[in-house]
């Protein structure tokens, strides 16, 4: 399914837009003008990668600085150990659309516990 995210003109280079779906997905517009979508929640703990430090094709988690590759979802170093999902992006008529990955998300343990109704 293609989900409309936001207009390309509303997302300046170097910025991210968070799609508040469950689990949330973030769209990044790099300084080079490329657009990528990945799962917004860090796989280590409950942090929003849209709040992170974008540099080139990598976003650094705002809390503990693991870096995720926007192209592959891969993580560089601890404390996060698992990759995030990447989603296909298409820009049509100035609108950014995201096609959600069918893989299971790698949510951090604290979020999984909360979704399961356990302690946060």
């Amino acid at each position: 399914m293609m989900i409309p995210a936001c207009r390309l003109v509303d997302l300046p280079r170097g910025e991210a837009y968070r799609l508040d779906i469950d689990p949330p997905v973030s769209v990044f517009h790099t300084d080079d003008g490329e657009v990528f979508a990945i799962d917004d929640t860090c796989t280590h703990q409950d942090a929003s990668l849209a709040d992170g430090w974008l540099e080139g094709c990598e976003v650094e988690c705002p809390l503990h600085a693991s870096k995720f590759d926007l192209r592959t979802g891969a993580v560089d170093a601890p404390p996060a150990k698992r990759p995030v999902r990447t989603h296909e992006v298409r820009v049509e008529d100035g609108m950014i659309y995201v096609r959600l990955s069918l893989d299971a998300p790698n949510l951090p343990p604290c979020v999984t516990a909360r979704l399961a109704g356990g302690p946060a």
Binding site: A47, S48, A50, D51, G52, W53, P62, L63, H64, A65, A77, P78, P79, K81, P109, C110, P119
Partner: protein, 386 residues
């Protein structure tokens, strides 16, 4: 370079080992650590692990399938370094000779004199410390935390959430004034009182009372605070005693250049045991934070492999985080350099403050409480300005 020995098998040591392989070193790699455990993550020890929300397996810093092709000598302590020979002497009498040595022996919790052997008294630095403390906290009771720094505050917060009756005793008039300055130290440490945790400031600890088990903490003003469990959180000292006589300069940690190089060729130091030169401030400082121990080994390894032939790039301003009472605290830069601090965003009573520290109008540090997005922007700006 054919053999590199890494002494200290925790975050800084593992990061150095990883950097070595990533930067193309394919010789013999020996990692020496005095704990029996594989490298594990310390920040959760005062937080999720202590609270019982994370298991030991979750603390592992290595990936499941990671293979650094290293020889791991665990459970053995390094007791000496022959500087010119670059030979690391071990407690079991053996020796590791190397062309390059990475010193990553970290820091150890300071203790209070005269508290040895008294049951119920804890420090918190290692997994073994955390196991012992967690088991006691599970029994409940009255906890007194000596020291209102980050570790002390986190233990207080975790124990409060577990339902213990908690008192924090701090010798300084304001906790965290060192790292955060008076104003913001006051705002962050107000989290204790907001949650019904008693905070007694400006009074030193004279000693502990108890026969075989601790019963009370005795204060210098004559008061005593009843205690079933005591946590001593009065800072850490760099583990560098073993380097005495090696020829290294040791002054609050191993004195290093801006890329971790020491006075001895082929020897670098990283992490909590190292006092790197800070070109911005024009002095040496020991940074005891996770992110420095994780990132700086990259630069030190570059310098080691190049034999000093590359110009060091300035490391990012120091950064650390802390989690207390559900509030995410983040800090970057140097508060001591500031002549003013202003709250730019948020309300202190809501615990969502963004504060900027300036010197002559220029930002030198930033503090966030539950403000990850704004904090990251300021942190980026600080790094760019430097």
């Amino acid at each position: 370079m054919r053999t590199v020995a890494v002494v200290g098998a925790s975050l800084a040591g593992l990061s150095a080992a990883r950097s070595l392989r990533k930067q193309g070193f394919d010789g013999r790699l020996v990692v020496i650590g005095d704990e029996l455990h594989r490298p594990y993550d310390r920040p959760p020890l005062s937080k999720e692990f202590l609270a019982g929300a994370l298991a030991e397996a979750d603390l592992a810093l290595e990936q499941d399938d990671e293979d650094l092709r290293a020889e791991w000598l665990l459970g053995v302590r390094a007791v000496g370094l022959d500087g010119p020979q670059r030979a690391v002497r071990l407690a079991d009498g053996s020796e590791v000779r190397a062309d390059g040595v990475v010193i990553a022996t970290g820091a150890a919790a300071r203790t209070l004199p005269g508290t040895d052997g008294l049951a119920g008294v804890h420090t918190l630095r290692t997994l073994d410390d955390a196991r012992a403390l967690r088991d006691e906290l599970a029994l409940g009771g009255r906890l007194v935390v000596i020291g209102g720094g980050f570790i002390g505050a986190e233990v207080a917060s975790t124990a409060y959430a577990l339902g213990l009756d908690v008192t924090v005793v701090e010798a300084a008039p304001t906790p965290l004034a060192g790292p955060l300055g008076e104003t913001m130290g006051g705002i962050v440490s107000a989290l204790h009182a907001d949650h019904g945790v008693r905070l007694w400031c400006g009074v030193g600890v004279k000693g502990l009372r108890g026969e075989s088990r601790v019963e009370a903490v005795l204060l210098e003003d004559g008061r005593s605070v009843p205690a079933d469990i005591v946590v001593v959180g009065v800072g850490a000292r760099p583990c560098v005693e073993w380097l005495a006589g090696s020829g290294l300069a040791l002054d609050d940690g191993v004195t290093c250049g801006a890329d971790g190089r020491t006075r001895l060729a082929g020897v670098v130091a990283v992490g909590d045991c190292a006092s790197w030169y800070d070109p911005r401030a024009g002095l040496h400082r020991r940074v005891e934070h996770w992110t420095g121990a994780r990132e700086r080994p990259d630069a030190a390894v570059t310098a080691l492999l190049a034999g000093g032939a590359v110009e060091p790039s300035a490391p990012r301003p120091p950064y650390f985080w802390s989690d207390q009472y559900g509030v995410k605290i983040q800090f970057a830069g140097h508060a001591a350099a500031a002549d003013s601090v202003t709250i730019e965003e948020g309300a202190r009573d809501d615990h969502n403050v963004l504060a900027v520290y300036r010197r002559s109008g220029q930002p030198v540090a930033v503090l966030g409480m539950n403000q990850p997005r704004l904090f990251t922007r300021w942190r980026k700006q600080l790094a760019a300005a430097a």
